[in-house]
Symmetry: none
Subunit: 118 residues, 2 copies
Amino acid sequence: MTDRSDRAWERLGDFIRSQRELANLSLRQLAEMAKISNPYLGQVEKGLYKPSADVLKNIANALQISAETMYTQAGLLDEDAKAPPGRDVEQAIRLDPNLTTDQKDTMIRIYRGFLGRT
Amino acid sequence: MTDRSDRAWERLGDFIRSQRELANLSLRQLAEMAKISNPYLGQVEKGLYKPSADVLKNIANALQISAETMYTQAGLLDEDAKAPPGRDVEQAIRLDPNLTTDQKDTMIRIYRGFLGRT
DNA sequence: AGCGAGTGCTAAGTATACTTAGCACGAGAA
DNA sequence: TTCTCGTGCTAAGTATACTTAGCACTCGCT
């Protein structure tokens, strides 16, 4: 293809890197979890390579992100009207069976505070 | 990796072949639609290679099959039912575009704190 | 009998996904 | 200081995804 101009892969790289940093993982740590080498993971995050589908899946698993959103980020699953990102934080909190009602309230209050609205 | 023992890819090949024959397409026809060479498509159908994610997507498009079912057939999207607790909430937080990185960190830390003392 | 034109396939090459070895820098401890 | 240990990175190699050229066969057609 030689068509490296695909922007989707760059965005995917940025997405992976941000998720990795959010999880406080080093390149080597995530690489080991995803069963790939750390230099390669670095290149992927820079958008230099198009990782194969199973590598993508391994990374998604390691980051505890659904493979689906991973593929969507990679532009491989454009499937319009899939999972609308964001905005369902409150719903996810409400549906979580591991939290007490008070805890849910607390988190939602914090969340709304962050959003800047009540 | 040298881990070619994955049976999922064989099943994927069979799936593609059956779909292709169902659509009355020759190897060359489908290959052209999917923008790959016909010998390669043949090998893929035989399970000799793991096609990359975008090739998979192209094949899916050409066969008028949703990329999603394609990936599922490839065993790349089965999303094991063993979702660890907290996965949904954390993911929703991470993907929320309205929060800063610090805010996400804070919320996730609080959330994990709640999980820890129940 | 020939001739195409279509089919799937193999072999050998090229491109690129991916690994191993190792460098340069920074933070904390002796 | 120096000595780890950890970080991200580059360079050079290997493995494999993918292509181009072309073979052997079959099915109409003349």
